[in-house]
């Protein structure tokens, strides 16, 4: 039996009405709220919009600048991430006490902080420190100090300190290379920073990362130089000892592997403590950082003096205008007179001498006699074939091509002067490149500062410019320079060196000739004799004649000898002197200037 539903009373109808009204009310409120949210979202009030800011945040990921490495992978320059503190004056609770607060927190100078913040109250970013120590960063992070933040910054470190400073260069505030290898290799070393944009909530937590705007960072590439920092350091220490002991104005040393053209060390030092001498040029304005100084091994030519003679000697011999055993009419006690009547003086007079003896004893008269047998074109060809007058293009910034007299200005005077290494300006890089011809049996190498197989695409090209037999003959003759000639004072106990000394008068800084009693002393040598591994050049500028000898063989020669002994032993080259066992002691303190 069906029971009929209870009859709806007026109370039921009333309840239904109220319920319907309540639901309609709730729906209306919800519609209004949703409408307001939509309105705030789409067309917010200006004040609200400025307070809310953008709902997107961007996080920048710095790219690491590549390391500079030496030929054995030692780190020369590397990058870390540091932080510096900044203040946002708008959110600082009390600007009057912020300096004191930071002094208590991380030891900053409150006066300095106030000095920086005071004039920039309207700014939102006022840097107040340099790169902070890790403990300072940690303290700021933990303190929760309002209005104080940390800005990440890339920091470049040079673990080898000042060794090879000009060669390596430095980076600027924006971490771009400003000098030396840092500038040269900037494209490879610099990476590209990453960027991530994300939608954030009110607590700045990411809600969504847009994959289309995400760009990962790309670190820079590590670059390996041909420089060996152990050799470089030894070279600099030895050179510094010499220029200080000689009260010289400065000095330059280049160490080259002639077989590959790789530069193993390039040192350029000036003597800041030198006692000034009359006629010295006004000191140059020192660069703010030694790493910004120019590398004079590449930029500043000098007169090579007698170190230039082997090139003319070898070329003339190859041309057949003279043979090593030919006896020349060199003078015995009085200066030689050239065809044009010019008087050519020798340091010592030996009378009639062979062409070989001319080189061994460094006789200007003999060089002048043979120079007059060569025609102008031949002498100019000699200069250009050995690479003088053209840049080595090894990559060092600011390299110059040296100074070579033009054909138009070339005279018989020039012809004779050049044979003795005068009236020509060469850079140390050009000298070691040219001298390598004797070490490689006639090949002129291309110089390199970047290790092969890395970022240097240039091929290791060598040009044969001298007959191998002539190159070897010149090398053996220069061995006699060491045993019987001007190199006797700087013979090695370990290796058979072949080399040549040079002593040229110092040109006046103001122009107009040369100083009478001031010199550029230089020495260039290679070793071992049979299969040379290294060529080293040392140039000492203006050694003080009042202190000791000034000849190249006595001043620059010992530096070359010590550098060769050390570098060859370090490279594991077996000594080739008779009755010698073992190696030079690499840990022994370097010798100071010889008396």
């Amino acid at each position: 039996m069906n029971e009929s539903p209870p009859p709806r009373t007026w109370q039921h109808h009333r309840l239904d009405s109220w319920t319907a009204l309540l639901l309609i009310g709730i729906a209306a409120v919800m519609v209004v709220c949703i409408g307001r949210v939509v309105q705030l979202k789409l067309t917010p009030d200006q004040r609200l919009a400025s307070a809310a800011g953008s709902p997107f945040s961007t996080r920048v990921e710095p790219a690491r600048r590549g390391d500079l490495l030496d030929r054995r992978g030692r780190v020369i320059a590397t990058t870390t991430l540091g932080h510096r503190a900044f203040v946002d004056p708008a959110t600082v609770e009390d600007l009057a006490t912020i300096g004191v607060d930071l002094q208590e927190l991380i030891g900053l100078d409150p006066v300095e902080v106030d000095r920086r913040v005071a004039p920039r109250h309207g700014s939102r970013f006022v840097p107040i420190s340099g790169i902070l120590e890790p403990w300072q960063v940690e303290r700021i992070r933990r303190s929760g100090l309002d209005g104080v933040g940390l800005e990440p910054r890339l920091v470049r470190h040079y673990p080898q300190q000042d060794t090879g400073a000009q060669l390596i260069g430095l980076v600027g505030f924006e971490h771009t290379g400003l000098g030396g290898a840092e500038h040269l290799l900037d494209d490879d070393l610099a990476g590209s920073e990453g960027r991530m944009t994300y939608l954030r909530d009110v607590r700045r937590r990411p809600l969504w990362i847009n994959p289309e705007t995400f760009r990962p960072h790309e670190d820079g590439t590590d670059c390996r130089l041909t420089i060996d920092m152990v050799i470089q350091r030894h070279v600099e220490e030895r050179l510094e000892a010499e220029i200080v002991a000689r009260n010289a104005a400065g000095g330059r040393v280049v160490v080259l592997d002639p077989a590959t053209g790789e530069l193993l060390a390039i040192a350029d030092l000036v003597n800041p403590d030198r006692t000034p001498r009359e006629g010295d040029p006004a000191p140059e304005t020192a660069p703010p950082d030694p790493r910004l100084a120019r590398n004079r091994c590449a930029t500043d030519p000098y007169e090579p003096g007698s170190t230039f003679k082997p090139f003319v000697w070898a070329f003339a011999t190859q041309q057949g205008v003279v043979t090593p055993s030919e006896i020349l009419e060199t003078p015995d006690g009085t200066p030689h007179r050239t065809r044009s009547g010019r008087r050519i003086r020798d340091v010592h007079y030996y009378g009639r001498s062979s062409w070989e003896k001319v080189l061994v004893k460094s006789m200007n008269s003999g060089m002048a006699i043979v120079a007059e047998r060569l025609d102008t074109d031949s002498m100019q060809s000699c200069i250009s074939r050995f690479g003088f007058g053209t840049r080595t293009n090894c990559g060092l910034p600011g390299e110059t091509a040296g100074l070579v007299t033009s054909s138009r200005d070339w005279s018989s005077y020039t012809q004779v002067s050049v044979s003795m290494g005068h009236e020509i300006g060469v850079t140390p890089l050009q000298m070691v490149r040219a001298f390598s011809v004797f070490a490689t049996d006639g090949n002129l190498p291309a110089l390199h500062l970047l290790a092969h197989g890395g970022h240097d695409p240039s091929p290791r090209v060598q040009h044969r410019i001298l007959d191998p037999g002539i190159a070897r003959l010149t090398r053996l003759t220069m061995r006699k320079v060491m045993t019987d000639g001007t190199g006797r004072a700087c013979q090695s106990d370990w290796y058979q060196l072949f080399g040549k000394s040079g002593t040229a008068q110092l040109p006046k800084a103001t122009g107009g000739g040369y100083h009478e009693d001031r010199y550029i002393s230089s020495f260039i040598a290679g070793a071992p004799l049979e299969s040379p591994r290294l060529v080293v050049l040392c140039v000492i500028e203006d050694p003080d004649k009042r202190i000791g000898p000034y000849y190249g063989g006595r001043v620059a020669g010992p530096v070359v000898r010590d550098v060769l002994d050390h570098a060859l032993a370090y490279l594991g080259v077996t000594p080739d002197m008779d009755e010698v066992e073992g190696f030079p002691d690499l840990l022994a303190e370097h010798r100071t200037a010889d008396p």
Binding site: E61, R64, D67, R74, V75, T78, T79, T80, L81, H157, P159, Q160, Q161, M196, Y198, R205, P206, L207, W208, I209, M229, V230, R233, A569, Y570, L571, G572, T574, F583, L587
Partner: protein
């Protein structure tokens, strides 16, 4: 009533998915940040190693105890080919 219940369940499920997605994004960002921090620690470590391996620093370390030098046994000593000890 059924409609309300179904709508509520769907809404809750959607909210749950959203929350899960947010958690994943947070985790991703945290992981990314951690990676970057580790990377920076590695940079610093590389720099410290480079400082410690400077020639003067090594020289000083060797000077402290001469036996250290003997242990290194002159790595540049030339051993003629064919005379090395066979394993």
């Amino acid at each position: 009533m059924t409609i309300i219940l179904v709508a509520t369940c769907i809404a809750l499920a959607l909210l749950g998915f959203r929350q899960q997605r947010l958690a994943i994004v947070h985790e991703m960002v945290d992981t990314h940040r951690l990676l970057m921090e580790q990377r920076r620690t590695m940079w610093t470590t590389r720099q410290r190693i480079a400082e410690a391996c400077r020639a003067p620093a090594l020289k000083e370390w060797l000077a402290e105890d001469p036996t250290r030098w003997l242990a290194i046994n002159r790595p540049w000593t030339v051993v003629p080919v064919g005379t090395q000890d066979q394993p």
